[in-house]
Symmetry: C2
Subunit: 458 residues, 2 copies
């Protein structure tokens, strides 16, 4: 009964909820680029003010990087910690956006209304689903449903450098019974999903140096070592074309096969392979040939090249043999893969393949995080699964996830806190890409879903 | 006697000659980048005015690209056509320059005074050696030594798109007995050199497209085809690591071995392999293992990668699988290699290696030119060789050259004009690189050398 009033309030408040989200989306809080440092501050201030309007004791906490936002509200029943991040990915290549990434708009599309703009899905839109659910609850009941700690980060897209020290320093303040995280997607349109495992992440970057200076390809073309050619050789050596496997020695240490039982579940969780591949222009999967698309995405590790550059890339041509070539790498980790051990293996692989007169430098400021598996035996998972099934009129499923949410591992290792990941994004949201969007249905039903979950947990 | 007066005049006029060169170097006439279109006009205007000050009937000739400068002066004896180019290479990476590339300065270095700045060596400094020789001659004799046509181009560094139509349209106006070209270097410091053969050039550029849009490496890492990884695979497939040869089928068609007699000459021409490699940080040659460094540079073809880029190259990291990857190529051609046929072979090589879901687009606006061999049996070559030997107190030599000067081929095919290439640059001039320089000795003795050659030819 009281849940119905909260749900009704949510429906009626949608225009205002949308306005609030648009306001937040207009703040270009790109965390990877120092040029947007002030905007990250602005986004944090905006969230502090919004939480305060809910009667939450909220404040901005400075870090060496971008600030955290922490808010507390007291109450009976379980103590929930809700996590989201207010920072967003860079927007390049800007020319591929159909509009200003930070001038969000509600658009009609063949699959329904969408909220278009950077961060609409990852993660501002998802973060606000929980906040709006709390707002509606408060409007109906005068209080929030239980004791809640709000914890918003501003460095998720840049490796969360300040997260570990902050968690360690505020261990007591951030203690709770369970963490709720809204930063994941649904396995398929309309299929409510709880992520039961996440891949970990390793980031690295190297620069190859050949000649001391850029050279003229007429004077040195032939005798001259070209670092771009060397980079291609080394990057290609990372892979075995036959099997699609990574060829770095020891890369698969700590990787486990998916149990048959879980594999069966996944095969029936509503994942639409054709839609998943087709929507981005693929006719087939391109990973390890011995594994299904779902396993390649959720249960197998990767070594991905995220950036490659060197020489001349301007208008026209330049007959140059450049001095340097650059490469950005990320690996997705599964099972018990150890990021630090893997970093050493990759660096050794490159070191072992350097030609005479070729040297390599590594960026040593990049983070790594292990994969994590959720404790779905906890009763909150079944309660949430039921609540989601009710809202979406479709059996909610436990899924794997290809992405990485390092905070989940740190909640466990530092705060001894289990996390439950519920998100409403769709695979076609184009997060980290031009023209990112969040379905209005994801936003609306997402808010309603949290209201139902809060009701079920309290 | 009168030659001595001209040489004396040159020595005495050096400060003014240097001021004039500095003026020309301050004009950022980068031809490959449309942003500098007006500066190319300014450089052409400057040259027209300077030639007119010598009593030359000079004018700027517009083209679809950057203008040509043509000047005529009448006289007895042979009819010489002098060619140089006033355009320069781009300056990136700008951060590697010790000063503004277009704020030239005279610097003291361990190997003597140098003129530092973009274009100081390639080709403004070299072009002005001939103009200053004419100026001194005129000051002493009241006239220039013979009938001379001056022909300055502004698109040499961008593939000379307007050159062929211009030569065809002005075939009669540009006819002469022989062309003199000052755009080459000396085989070794202090060793006067006449280039007897040049490599040709083929330029091409391609873009690989994988997914329709940039992808999140968490959502698609594994099943997703990554065009950066594909680009590395394809670029690596261009080469045979064992032999150092290019692995494109039919690449070496039209390549001839160097005759033993010529090889012996080259081996004794004063080329210092250790200096040539060591000055840029190489401990050994990196080309075809079956050939000497000199052959790799002068007599063997190359397939060089001048630019590679795709994905994220900004500050921090971005977990992206990009939609596109880009590659700029130039080939140096020798013997009878046909640029058009070679272009087809390279494109077929790439086409044959595309994975499913990977497509390629080629830039079709890039030029090619064949290699050329000079007609050193003409008497002018021996006269010039003697004049150079006198100036440098060192036997002048006929050398090969790794660079490409397409205009030489077009002079022959369109104007039926033989060319003689005499230049005073040094291998360490860092042309096409940051901190380009031209030795003051090259400039001074270069001017004196042209005076001696003019005297010898008339």
């Amino acid at each position: 009964m009281s849940l119905d009033s909260v749900l009704a309030r949510i429906d009626q408040e949608m225009p205002q909820a949308l306005d609030r989200l648009m306001e937040l989306l207009r703040i270009p809080s790109i965390s990877t680029d120092p040029a947007f440092k002030d905007d990250c501050q602005t986004a944090a201030d905006w969230l502090v003010a919004d939480l305060q309007s809910l009667g939450v004791d909220a404040s901005k906490r400075e870090t060496p990087g971008h600030p955290m936002v922490v808010g507390h509200v007291d109450g009976d029943g379980p103590h929930l910690l809700f996590y989201g991040h207010y920072d967003v990915q860079p927007v390049d290549p800007l020319e591929l956006w159909d509009r200003d990434p930070f001038d969000p708009v509600l658009e009609d599309t063949p699959t329904g209304k969408v909220i278009r703009g950077r961060g609409s899905s990852d993660d501002k839109g998802q973060l606000m689903t929980f906040v709006e659910a709390c707002r509606a609850w408060k409007a109906v009941h005068g209080t929030l449903p239980c004791k809640i700690t709000f914890f918003f980060e501003g460095e998720e897209e840049s490796g969360s450098p300040s997260l570990i020290p902050f968690l360690e320093e505020h261990k007591d303040e951030l203690s709770a019974d369970i963490a709720l995280v809204c930063d994941t997607s649904m396995v398929s349109r309309g299929v409510p999903s709880i992520a039961s495992q996440l891949r970990g992440m390793l980031k690295d970057e190297f620069t190859l140096t050949g000649p001391r200076i850029d050279l003229h390809s007429g004077h040195y073309g032939g005798p001259g070592l070209n670092p771009l050619r060397e980079l291609a050789r080394i990057v290609d050596s990372f892979y075995d074309a036959e099997t699609g496997r990574v060829a770095v020695e020891g890369f698969y240490e700590g990787v486990h096969e998916v149990p048959d039982e879980q594999l069966r579940q996944w095969q029936n969780c509503g994942f639409d392979e054709g839609d998943y591949l087709g929507t981005v222009g693929y006719s087939q999967p391109h990973g390890e040939k011995a594994y299904s698309t779902l396993e390649q995405q959720w249960a197998r590790p990767t070594l991905e090249i995220n950036g490659l550059w060197g020489g001349y890339n301007g208008v026209g041509s330049k007959t140059v043999i450049p001095s340097k070539a650059h490469c950005k790498i990320t690996c997705r980790l599964v099972g018990d893969m150890d990021p630090d051990a893997l970093r050493d293996k990759i660096r050794k692989h490159v070191q072992d393949r350097l030609s005479p007169d070729l040297s390599v430098e590594w960026d040593n400021d990049l983070e790594g995080s292990r994969a994590s598996v959720m404790n779905i035996a906890r009763p909150e998972f079944e309660s949430a699964r039921q609540a989601l099934s009710d809202e979406w009129n479709r059996e909610a499923v436990f899924t794997g996830m290809g992405g990485s949410i390092p905070v989940v591992g740190f909640f466990k290792s530092i705060l001894e806190l289990d996390a439950m990941l519920v998100g409403y994004a769709n695979e076609d949201d184009q997060i980290h890409s031009p023209n990112e969007k969040y379905d209005l249905e994801s936003f609306h039903k997402g808010i309603r879903s949290w209201a139902r979950i809060l009701d079920a947990l309290t």
